[in-house]
Symmetry: none
DNA sequence: GATGAATGAGTGTTCATTCAT
DNA sequence: TATGAATGAACACTCATTCAT
């Protein structure tokens, strides 16, 4: 029914050398992402990256003009065009806004938080100061679209009476904060939180959602934050 | 024969040279904190630190055995022993737990978030991987006590019926996340959030408290997070 | 069965592939000469040479064992065996020695000075220090025969009473200097002399000849250079 | 009456370290000039320069920002402001123009040709192509003033009837060529000419002067260069 | 104690050369 | 034969650290 032994259809026709050439940039970006996330930009040596990718230092420079370009490529490569998909899902979504928020957290964890892509956020937080150009790119490609999406969600909730009115600008960050926090727990606060929390944070996300939704859904006139 | 206007009581009796000598380490730590926070560990040159402190490079090494020791000293020095005071305040506090949480956020912003001490958190997030020893120290001195304090607050709220029962381990992080988030906004996500948000985040903290308290205070049986 | 218009007689009978193969070394030497002369030995990359010759880097090493060998081949290849011809012309020459000298300058410009062969002299002047072996070869093949030829010309002039007696060893260099100077003007002092001078130096050569001949032809007893 | 043992008056008051600091740039430029002239720019390693100056590589970079800056400094440093002095001498000169030309050659040999300053000319001839900026500087500071001086000398000779009229632009180069030639003999054509010629070329310069002056001084109507 | 000149191990980058295809 | 991906030795340059003054 299926061809029993062809390793990979598109690779089958290329001589080994060629296949490697196509794979090289990816393998290098792969190795580089790991090391940059683990040790930071400065502490990562290009020899290490090359070695981890199984090539020599010279080969790395065949594909990336400099360490800085390698870093930029790592960031660009891993910033998925996920926001377009998420925006489309937002448009089509027919359930409650609460469910939408739940889906949003869950999808984030599945496609970003639990994957190596989350390392990019850590990199930005650590290195943004030294790469303003990249930081701006990240903001345009990730930060701004993300905040927009959350804002639209909250506005939807308020407009259809599901959420009480509130300062949406601030509420956006209330939604965002737990995701950022979780990312950091995974990458740089490892020892500060229990292992289970980092690898299977569904409980944390659920609690956050509960609290958020309880907070956002309270009747409009609820007297809160009295002091 | 005695100078009539003494600038500083403890410095009064020392000749100028001596006074400076005592002040040196502090001035160096001061300069170092700023630079480490701004540029990261690797990108900070010891010459810069010395220059900013107004001394020569050699002098820096008179007080700190190495750049690494300087870094560690910066972290240690700025990790205030504030938790002892906060713990005492917790013991004495007589108001509602909601008010206690409000006081906690407010005090954190006043004594940590709005001060340079918040830079230490940023440093830990960026450099912890390369300084495990320091990371552990930070955890013992800051992370653990902080989480303990929050936990006790939440337990108090639950025990006296103010908060509904919930997974306290996770709720701790719900309280913590906004503070971490705010710290990052100030130090590494500057361009991602409005200026006003970073320098005067009372609105953000209020919203967070509202949402948190609404979420935590909901009647025990409140049906939430159905899915 | 025979192609009607043969582009080149000796290439006619070979299939295209073969022809190219034979032409390869020449094309490479061609490209290399240009680049070595223009940029110097060290600043010339073998990739550039290969690219200019329209082949890959690997192919270059098929024909020349190393960059150094390529350089040596460039020099050897372009050191014309012109001296044999010139020597024969010298033997047969029947006019005055002054005319012979004029012919010599003119022929040098036509066959060396105005052609790329003059680049070899520039190369020697620039790189001889790093290629003693090649420098020696150049001396044997070019410098010595050239000086010999000039010497014989001057001796002929003196012997037949056309030129006054003088230190011939030094006079040789008086004849040589303008040619060396002209070569340098073309290749490395471009900006120091007017454009017209470099590309059409007949005027310069004429003046030089005038001065030289006036100087060499003065009556034997002419009191000169008194001081 | 004289202090018997003070090594150097101006150095006596400085501590040894300080003195060295002032001497360092000069020592490095010294070493660099030798090596650049001997081996060319690319083949000269900064370590070698440092070693020859008796310091470490790091020290070199304390005084010169890069290898290129070192090279430029070498050229600038050795391009004496000799032309100002020569111009003044020209203004004051009261003898014949022939004597002036003799003095000119002799002074050039004494102050340039026989010294290491002549190495700069060799450097320019070899490396100008790779350092256009330096080449321009050299032209302005050396080539142009030199040609100007020669031109004025020739004009003086023609105007006072000593020299016959001729194309002065070309005659300038006739005067220049032997000096360039001699420089090259010393630095890159060493093996092409006898040892004595390079180190004591007075004979050569005399002959050149004789020929030049015979050529330039011939009566205006002398029939020359007939062809 | 304070200085800053000197150091040299370490790193990013280049490029002639090799060799599997 | 021709290719061009891969290599690694070599080099310019940095910067934490030392130490004579």
């Amino acid at each position: 029914m299926s061809s029993p032994s062809l390793p990979h259809p598109c690779a089958a026709e290329l001589p080994k050398r060629e296949r490697r050439k196509e794979a090289r940039p990816g393998e290098l970006l792969d190795a580089a992402l790991d090391l940059f996330v683990e040790k930071g930009y400065a502490a990562t040596k290009v020899d290490e990256v090359a070695a981890r990718a199984g090539v020599s230092k010279g080969t790395l420079f065949l594909y990336f003009a400099s360490k800085e370009e390698l870093f930029k490529a790592v960031v660009r490569e891993n910033i998925a065009g996920r926001f377009q998909l998420w925006n489309e899902e937002f448009e089509r979504f027919e359930g409650s806004t609460a469910d939408m928020l739940r889906y949003c957290y869950s999808s984030w964890w599945e496609h970003v938080g639990s994957t190596r892509a989350s390392g990019i956020t850590k990199l930005m937080l650590s290195e943004a100061g030294n790469f303003p150009e990249i930081a701006q790119f990240y903001q345009q490609e990730v930060a701004d679209p993300g905040q927009q999406l959350i804002r639209r969600m909250l506005q939807r909730g308020v407009e259809c009476g599901e959420f009480r009115a509130c300062d949406i600008d601030c509420a956006v960050y209330a939604v965002l904060a737990p995701l950022i926090f979780l990312t950091l727990c995974k990458h740089t606060m490892a020892t500060c939180v229990p292992e289970a929390f980092r690898t299977a944070p569904q409980g944390f996300l659920d609690i956050q959602l509960d609290i958020l939704l309880q907070g956002l859904c309270a009747p409009a006139g609820t007297p809160i934050a009295t002091r």
